[in-house]
Amino acid sequence: MDQIFFVGLVAAAFRLATPLVFAALGEAISQRAGVLNVGIEGIMLVGAFAGAWGSAATGSPWLGLGVAIAAGAAAAAVHGLLCLHFRVDQIVSGIALTVLGLGLSGYAYRLTLGSDRGVAIPSFARVDLGALGELPVLGPMLFQHHLLVYVALALAPLLWWFVNRTGWGLAIRACGEEPAAAHAAGIDVLRVRWGCVLVGGALAGAGGAYLSIAQIGNFVEDMVAGRGFIAIACVVYGRWNPFGVLLAALFFGAADAAQIRLQALNPDVPYQFFVMAPYVLAVGALVFVSRRSRLPAALGRPFTPPR
């Protein structure tokens, strides 16, 4: 393994992992409160579109990111309304959200940006970390990324501290494990779950926006291309722990970065072998991990406060 290969691989791993980190951390928070959202693929698409649209409309990628976060939360509110208010099955609602997000983002794109091909979508520039970025080897690997990459990395410890070391975090965990007991202790379970669903949606929206206004600077239909589902795998693989989730996302990013490089170096091996490798790893890891992991006890179960 030569140096160009390794440096490129590590840098690409961070870029490929970032949308997963955002979405998976959001999903982890939602699941810790007991709400399974399999619709993050759709939310990420909504976020990707909203980010591009907001950025083009305002001329600022930051405002675009804000629009994406708001749109992600709004899309998640549909899930919240269906699951928390109308007590619809969470899987069914999530699947509906996936399909809705795909259609909605594609349609909205065509009504707005898609009908005007010349429109510029302002995008985040890479942060200039001065001397750090100039370092040999380490510079290109670690210090030449978009700001959102570092935001994603910083989110993990922040959320870990929030979930494990604060009163609010305790309330969230209680709602995911023993909602009846949480209710008896005076916690408004539905309100906590609503909050976590919205935060989860906001983060998935940010993950989608990373794709559209940092990595690419463009929106295309179905550009999330399955990352929402890999993010759910990251949550299980990371055992609902923000640090674990971060590691899982980085692992998938690295696996993908490796497969695209190995492909070009091994033209004689059928390409399918490389393309499917990260997914094979995902399935294999899940089989292995799920035997020893325990999911939040009340995950996927609706809660009605006793009267």
Partner: protein, 323 residues
């Protein structure tokens, strides 16, 4: 003013009446696998049908984003509604069309970018993607400074494999020692991975890249733009996206396919066979060099022009086989 209006009205009335009496309006359905906004494969078909709408007396219906499992139902529905021409855009339409065409003898089923045909009413139009790739490879080898060029395919369906094979051979024709790197995204819509995979080829020294597929092509152009290397577009001329990056585009004239199909059905000259269109038939073309006009030597330009003439005349021996 009033008189002008009346005259215009009368003219319009005559204008509408005459052809309607002579020829009945044909109903044409275009079934697409993706969105008309993809900027490449589906956009090209959409552009083609729009042009045909102007040219022929037809009524057009378009269905986008058709998943493989929905194809048969979509084709059947249009045939049942009495559409004279049902065009499936993509090789995945071949099998479903083959399965149902006999049940609707009044409808012509046309499959684009496939090689299927069956009596009495199933024909297909395809382009010589391999020849397009051959010329693209020749251009790439002519402008490359590092001696390494790359091709990134979305999913290696037959036409993409033909393009890749052509790209390699065309590049080697100009420069036998050239290194051609290839990779596959595994998706047509994953623009981010299309970009990453292109960056990995640029890391390995490629200074001219080309890509085939749908939106993934945009990712390749982006990566080339970011890293200041050259790109060769495919299928749909989108030089405006990155005028400083795109040397030229190996255009697949899917609008010509559609125009020809509708024209042949209108004139009742169509036969149940595969129509294969290359440079000679105007089904494949090379876009102007535009911003690169001054950056490519006259000798190289003449060489490419001669190559296209040789292909038209059937004088190039190692063009890729049609799969």
């Amino acid at each position: 003013m009033k008189r002008a209006f009346a005259t215009a009205l009368a003219a319009a009335a005559i204008g509408f009446a005459a052809p309607a009496a002579a020829q009945q309006e044909l109903k044409v359905a275009l079934v697409l696998p993706g969105p008309i906004s993809d900027g490449t494969f589906n956009s090209a078909a959409h552009q083609g049908i729009k042009a045909a709408e102007q040219k022929y007396k037809i009524k057009v219906s378009i269905q986008e984003n058709t998943q493989s499992a929905q194809i048969e139902a979509a084709l059947t529905r249009y045939a049942r509604e009495g559409y004279a021409i049902v065009i499936g855009h993509g090789f995945q339409f071949a099998e479903p069309a083959k399965k149902i065409h006999k049940r609707f003898p009044k409808t012509w089923f046309i499959v684009n970018t496939a090689k299927v045909a069956a009596a009495p009413n199933l024909a297909s139009f395809d382009n010589r993607w391999g020849d397009a790739g051959y010329v693209a490879g020749a251009v790439a080898a002519s402008v490359s400074k590092t001696g390494t060029v790359g091709h990134i395919g979305g999913i290696p369906v037959p036409v993409i494999q033909e393009y890749q094979e052509g790209f390699e051979r065309g590049a080697k024709r100009i420069r036998p020692d050239i290194k051609v790197l290839t990779a596959v995204v595994g998706s047509f819509s994953d623009i981010a991975k299309g970009k990453e995979i292109t960056l990995s080829l640029i890391e390995r020294g490629a200074d001219v890249v080309t890509a085939t597929g749908n939106e993934n092509v945009v990712g390749t152009i982006q990566a080339a733009k970011e890293k200041n290397v050259m790109a060769i577009g495919t299928a749909f001329d989108s030089a405006a996206l990155a005028p400083e990056t795109i040397v030229t585009t190996a255009i697949i004239r899917m609008d010509v396919n559609i125009d020809m199909a509708i024209g042949l059905v209108s004139s009742k000259k169509i036969e149940p066979k595969n129509y294969l269109l290359g440079f000679k038939e105007n089904g494949v073309d090379l876009a102007p060099y535009r911003a690169f006009e001054s950056k490519i030597s006259d000798a190289n330009k003449a060489r490419i022009k001669q190559l296209i003439e040789d292909i038209k005349a059937g004088k190039v021996a190692d063009l890729p086989k049609i799969r």
